[in-house]
Structure formats: C-alpha cells, structure tokens
C-alpha cells in the first residue's frame, strides 16, 4: 500500500470519527420536534373551538391584555437575540459569553414573572380554568408554554453556572440554546392565535 492510499484512508477514518451533530443537540432537537407537534395539536383544537363559537371571546369574560403581552413578547424575542450573541461570543472567547447569557436569562425571567402577574390579574377578573372555553384553552396553552420557559431557564441557569466556573461543554450549551430558541419562537405563534 503506497503512502497516498494510506493518507486517504486516514482522512476517511477521521471524517467518520467526527460527529455531524452532538448527541445532546440531536436529542434536544427530537424532543423539540415532539413538543412542536404537541403545541400544534393544542393550537388546532383551539382554532376549531374558536371557529365553532357563536360569540368570541365569550360574554362576561375579561379581554386578554394585548398591549402588555406585546411588550412581553418583545422582551422574550430580545432574550433570544441575546442568547445568539452569547453563542457567538462563546465561540470566540468563553468568558465574553457570560454577559449576554446573563441578560438573556434576566429577560426570560422577566417574561415568566410578567406572565404570572397577568395571570393573577385575569384570575381576579374572573377568567378561570372552568369559567369558559377561552379560560380553559388560555391556561392550558399559555400555562404549558410557561412551564417550558421555566424548564429552559433552569437549563440556561445551569449553563451560566458552569460557564462561570469554567467547565461548560459546548454540546451542553448548544442543547440549552435549542430549547430556549424553541420557547422563544413558539411564543409569537401562540400570541397571534390565542391573544388576537
């Protein structure tokens, strides 16, 4: 076997050894695909119920806060942008990613807390899980999104802690990012369908 053949065999071997996608990212992507279908099912059910209703939103039910939630939506989208900046900084210099990651987490936490405050206000105005179909779907869809947002925030907080201590693996950060991007990108769809 000549040297050139040996070298090409070595190259092929190395190409096969390099993973195309990290396992954690692939696992998270599969999970996100399942979650997208879950939300798609909920949105479809909501759309059908809404189309079949004689009056929408139901009478004697409070109106959903459109403007305040629009501001909150902007905060969530900004947190997605900050996470992207953290990703870029992480590639150059790991320590530089700490600040944009902190801002992304704070914006995400603001979103969740603001949503919680809105819920308290709506409950006070009489929109409950059993008051109407609007209430049932609102708390189910928006509540499940809030649960996902909290879970993603926990992942981001873990990444932040590891980054601060200097042992954040690239694959772990990438998986947390995929989950947070899902939370950020599914929200405008929910806002447009449920609130408007």
């Amino acid at each position: 076997m000549n040297t050139q053949n040996l070298q090409s065999i070595r190259l092929i071997h190395r190409a096969r050894q390099t993973p195309a996608v990290q396992n954690s990212v692939l696992g998270m992507l599969i999970f996100v695909v399942a979650e997208v279908m879950f939300f798609a099912g909920l949105i479809s059910a909501f759309t059908i119920v809404r189309a079949g209703a004689v009056v929408w939103p139901p009478r004697d039910q409070p109106r959903l806060p459109l403007e305040a939630t629009a501001v909150n939506t902007l905060a969530l989208l900004a947190s997605g942008v900050c996470l992207y900046l953290a990703h870029r900084a992480f590639k150059r210099d790991r320590a530089a990613a700490l600040r944009p990651l902190t801002i992304a987490m704070l914006l995400g936490a603001f979103f969740v807390i603001f949503q919680g405050a809105e819920w308290v206000r709506l409950l006070g105005q009489g929109l409950t899980l059993t008051s109407s179909t609007l209430g049932s779907f609102f708390y189910l869809i928006i509540g499940l999104h809030a649960l996902h947002a909290i879970a993603a925030l926990v992942l981001l907080a873990d990444s932040w802690r590891r980054l601060q201590r200097g042992w954040l693996a690239e694959s772990q950060f990438a998986a947390a990012q995929v989950f947070w991007y899902f939370v950020v990108l599914v929200w405008p769809v929910l806002y447009l369908r449920v609130y408007l």
Partner: protein, 96 residues
C-alpha cells in the same frame, strides 16, 4: 340445481344488512368531528387544521433529515480538507 335453504337465509340476511348500511349515513351525522351541516368558518377551520397537522410532521422530519445530511457533508469535507495530524515521534531508548 337446487339452492340449499341455509344459503337462501344467508343471502336474505346479507341483503338486509346491506340495506341497513345504506340507511347508516343518517346516523353518522352525529359524529362530533363531522363538518356536515356546520357553517363555513368551522368547516374552513377543520380543513386548515387537518392540512396543518398533516404537513407539519412531514416538514419537521424532512427538514431535520435535510439538515443532518447537509451537516454530515460539511463535517466530512472539513475533516478531509484539514491536514492529518502527524504521529508523535517514537522516543529513543538510551543504550546502557
């Protein structure tokens, strides 16, 4: 050739069953997801959500497969473009 009595009874039952099935669509209107007799908005919602839920998984799985294929090609081209690492030199053992 004479047809046996039990075959005749069977064919009468089969005909009766077929006639009963012809009358069945009237009952099927009670189906909760049947769009017959509903307004246009509701029917449109049924059609749109059916199309959405049919196409979305195909798009997601197809998109993921396409992205993985593209990524695999990228990684293999990077791996073959970079020069291979040279093996470490074998340390010489000093003779006693």
């Amino acid at each position: 050739m004479e047809i046996p009595v039990h075959s005749r009874v069977k064919s009468i039952f089969a005909t009766a069953a077929a006639l009963a099935l012809l009358a069945a669509p009237g009952i099927a209107e009670a189906c909760s997801v049947c769009s017959a007799g509903r307004d246009d908005e509701s029917r449109t919602a049924f059609i749109l959500t059916t199309a959405f839920l049919t196409l979305l998984p195909l798009a997601l799985v197809g998109g993921m497969a396409w992205w993985l294929r593209r990524r695999t090609r990228q990684v293999s081209s990077w791996a073959t473009q970079q020069p291979p690492a040279r093996p470490a030199p074998i340390p010489r053992i000093a003779k006693a």
